[in-house]
């Protein structure tokens, strides 16, 4: 499937509509597949059972995974190019990027295998432009200098990781009742670990380790010192302090800074697609 077409079609409205019927179908199938001990594919979604899914219901879970794969392609290529650019200092920065790069490649392979195992053709890898038409120079291709390029490598990594965390969270409901849910959660928390470390590395480089907006967690909807304004969409909505109907500032006496840090907010598929789309040429 063409990536742009896929992203265009991806709206959370469509995905959320069918929740209850989809859950019914999936949970029925889930118990069937357990009995049959189907473990051949990573997600346990055997192709032989796929006809049990209503086409619409299947679409929501598959679309969630296709979006996840798209974001993983983006991250995987970004880290690969970062490591090849020569911009990253050796030592901690290079080690951190290498470790994350390894995970993102593993996520691409895992999601690809999972979709194929479910009899679905994975979306193809898009063509990326991490300069966003020349706005950034993270790999120092235009001789902006190592310092500028490195700062942009860190800023983009932070934006991608924080987006990944929110995007996976936003898709959890679409995977509910399926065997895809747990692996998606297991990727989700790894993205959060990446986000924390990239944020802390960026803070160290910028000399901002005591800045409350530059910690491993997100404060209010603050993108943090030195983050380009273009990344603000990644943080909008993170200032929420009401969880499950409970205003936690009132309930705990802690301030909105601490309360907002304690919860990461989900992001709709639409928003995640829009953010990813900034870096996709075709």
């Amino acid at each position: 499937m063409n990536i742009i077409k896929f992203l265009d079609e991806f709206t959370s409205d469509n995905l959320n509509k069918k929740m209850s019927s989809r859950r019914e179908v999936f949970s029925t199938l889930g118990s069937l597949s357990k009995k049959a001990a189907l473990v051949a594919v990573p997600f346990g979604l055997a192709t032989s059972s796929s006809k049990a899914y209503a086409a619409q219901d299947m679409d929501a879970a598959v679309s969630a995974l296709q979006l996840a794969l798209t974001l993983e392609y983006l991250e995987a290529e970004f880290y690969m190019m970062a490591l090849a650019s020569g911009v990253l200092p050796s030592g901690r920065p290079e080690s951190v990027y290498s470790q994350i790069s390894k995970h993102e490649n593993q996520h691409v392979a895992f999601l690809t295998a999972g979709l194929e195992g479910a009899g679905v053709e994975p979306v193809g890898k898009p063509t990326f432009d991490f300069t966003v038409g020349g706005m950034f120079d993270p790999f120092d291709d235009n001789n902006s200098g190592q310092e500028v390029a490195y700062a942009q490598l860190l800023a983009l990594a932070q934006a991608f990781e924080d987006t990944g965390v929110r995007a996976y969270k936003g898709q959890a409901g679409n995977l509910m009742g399926t065997d895809f849910l747990t692996p998606a959660l297991q990727i989700h928390s790894v993205e959060a670990k990446h986000a924390s470390e990239i944020r802390r590395l960026r803070a160290m480089v910028a000399g901002e380790t005591l800045n409350p907006d530059a910690l491993g967690w997100i404060t209010l909807d603050n993108r943090g010192p030195g983050m380009p304004e273009a990344t603000q969409a990644v943080y909008d909505g993170e200032e929420n302090v009401v969880q499950g109907g409970v205003n936690l500032v009132d309930a705990t006496g802690f301030d909105a800074v601490a309360v907002s840090q304690s919860y990461d907010e989900p992001m709709t598929g639409e928003t995640a697609s829009t953010i990813a789309g900034l870096f996709i040429v075709s």
Binding site: Q186, S189, W217, T252, P266
Partner: protein
Amino acid sequence: MKKPIIKVEKAAIKQNNAGSSRRKFLKMGGLAVAGSGLLLYSCSDDDDVMGPVIGDVFDLGSGDLGILNYAYALEQLEAAFYTNVLDGSYWAGASAEEKLILEDLYKHEVIHREFFKAAITGAVNGDTSLVLPELEFDFSGVDFGNRDSVLGTASVLEDTGVAAYNGAGKLLTTPEYLVLAGKIVSVEARHASAIRSIFLSDDTAFAGDDVIDSNGLDPAKSPSEILAAVGATGFVKTEFTANQLPS
């Protein structure tokens, strides 16, 4: 220098031995406890008890309520731990960055704890007999004046939290609860990453190969696995059971 992890492991062996007698005991009592999610249930008076063993020991409950109480127990543990950390001499003399991180973790875990208390109480229409009571803890195995002990224990607790939420997600049937668990687990993962990053010298420890598998996945553990591990730490004094949670 003694590390808390070693103490934890020592305790684990002791508790595991006790665990087998607990299971045997439960079997004798005629209870169907698949995988035995029983936590710290004292068996000292085995011979005196016939029939139901629960008595006045709190059981987490079944379904979403059971999972929420389970999460509440873990958040109580984390919150109590960091409360002790901030009262300890290591924290008082730590670097500004470590102080800030640990203070944030304290706040976040207390906020998570208070959230579960309020949310569960609301979900059961105020019937507090269904809400996990405030647990008592014993952190005598942790040296709050020692960096290795504090950060080592913190790292174990944060890793445990991530694996617990990842494993519990599929057990939830209410979409709103799943999203809430998702909102919390990524913050626990951010904690785990930061603690491991400042504690361990390996630059890849924040998401290390010792935790993350070859598919790039974090662990997802069942309630019974998690409760057995938590029980093994010896930190939880108040007895409670998890007899109705899926193993």
